[in-house]
Symmetry: C2
Subunit: 342 residues, 2 copies
Amino acid sequence: MPDKATARLTQRDIARLAKVSQTTVSLVLNNRSDASARIPAETRDRVLKVIRETGYQADPLARRMTKQRNQILGVFTYESVFPSASGDFYHPFLAGIEDRAERLGWDLLLFTSAPVTDGHRRIFHENNRLRIADGCLLLGREIPADELARLIAEDYPFVSVGRRDDAGGPVPYVGADYGTATRTVAERAQALGHRRIAFVGLGVGAESSADRLRGFRAAAGPRAPHLPTLDRSPGEVLDDLLDRRITAAFVEERADAIALYAAAAERGVDVPGDLSVVALGDATRAAASDLDFSGFHVPRRAMGVRAVELLEAVLSGTATEQQLLLPCELTDGITLTPPEGA
Amino acid sequence: MPDKATARLTQRDIARLAKVSQTTVSLVLNNRSDASARIPAETRDRVLKVIRETGYQADPLARRMTKQRNQILGVFTYESVFPSASGDFYHPFLAGIEDRAERLGWDLLLFTSAPVTDGHRRIFHENNRLRIADGCLLLGREIPADELARLIAEDYPFVSVGRRDDAGGPVPYVGADYGTATRTVAERAQALGHRRIAFVGLGVGAESSADRLRGFRAAAGPRAPHLPTLDRSPGEVLDDLLDRRITAAFVEERADAIALYAAAAERGVDVPGDLSVVALGDATRAAASDLDFSGFHVPRRAMGVRAVELLEAVLSGTATEQQLLLPCELTDGITLTPPEGA
DNA sequence: CGGCTTTAGTAATCCGAATTAGCAGCACCA
DNA sequence: TGGTGCTGCTAATTCGGATTACTAAAGCCG
């Protein structure tokens, strides 16, 4: 009896049992019938019989060795993949990625080994393992330009989920068209009669922030007010809005919109009666609300799907356009109505 | 210039650049310093420098071929990892896994390449790639015994998240002690005066179901009623409970408890006045409710953490006990009070 | 019968790493 | 001055399977 468990069967074993060469076993297994490899039915059956009797299965690793690709799709997230606090912002992206990866027969490698420092991961560190994967998807609000530049310089196949500015070259991405969406909802508000509108949020830093502010300015003009949220309570922001007699606030971050709405309710300020509130995307921080905000949603799932498809195209060399913006899903909602007296 | 993109770097390339042999590169990489392999600091540094400059990473497949650790932790989920519908049941497990993997410097490989058929994945299929990872964690409500048996037979290192029955041998797992938790809350209800109590749910099939029913029976006796939920609306279940003059229902699935509560509210049945409702765990289906149910929660995050730790112990051969049950978190809640007239 | 083609199969390599065996060169010692 | 041992490295082999190159035998033709 084989004391050391069952030493895994190999093609050599099958070959021995079927009295053929390992080559023949391989040919039979791969069902090859080219001119260069003819296996008569008799021999083929003999080999197949042995395979059936022994329950032999080819080692998938050895099999992949001779292929060029590993069928591993890297996923690099600049925050934790499974965050406990930040709500489910990334979830739909990942669902889309998983869906497509599954369809392509790829496994997903999450680079959790990259240490998180200051709440951010860095791609390039001591022992970066990027090259374990065939290619990589990048997720995160902000991705340092130097890291992108290095990926490009090293010619590593990757796709960013979310638009990124050039970094020593164009960055392949599948993003959401925040600019157009923001501009559209701002124009819609203007059509309803709003004349005093403001952008509420960061507006700088990440591309996604800048794109929204840019879209807003495209509709509202370069001097339209931009109210920061950083280090200010929702109440303070609300006061600021009211002081300036703003009639419609375009809030970059949905969580802030929700907080603003709550502050207004508490203060007895009616939304949208006294103030319309437009949400420019989805909550990236935990924030529960059933309220049907006017504004738009980010096509997160679709972005994940398309990002995988683009990476696959890049890897197989069939990619033509490497930068793709998907339209956001506008929602009418109930928080945008004509201003009082309009 | 290399027109054919980046032909993946190999140790041979590194060797050539560093003017040493492939063997030396391998030795340096594996930091070997036996008597049989002495690499002076000077040579080592030269090799490391080239590796750093080129960003070389060992091919995990080739590496696994010759059996070695890869720092890759496989995660096999029997449903989608990122489900769109099923709520967030798996999320905390994965958060725990990610946390520990990060601390150990491991990457997470999600086996999304395993095709989902009938809503379930199968580990063993055409082209299973389990062995890319050093070991694997298994997640899912039900895991076919034959798959577990085969993993055991093949001596593949794995740990199940959730208790599993023996399958041709003991299954290594980190589970939740549903039995004790259910028994404890049932006894607590009895101490409050409840005499007519019932178990509501599947009670069979998955170990997690059976464990709860067993715990319930341990407190309530072997003949205590067990009401099925399958193919019955919450209203029907409620009728059944009232017909039997049950004063406390122990509901296996939190989503069912929520639905039952809603049905009762609609019917004018007071919970817990007319009927106490105990939730035996967390919702595995999407179901939102702020209600503070009496019952318990599953220590999901901790289970994920401990499962990684156990697998690490298994891999390094230091594991002593391979089956671990963590206590559930009992919650007093507001849906269990003494029965009327007690 | 000799030359050419087809058939049926095998030996040799390769994939990218890890590992084993072994080989020069030098120091030290008797 | 030859033997022993250490140092520093490399050639060769292995893992399991895919592929290429090649060969032995049979079939066909004139």
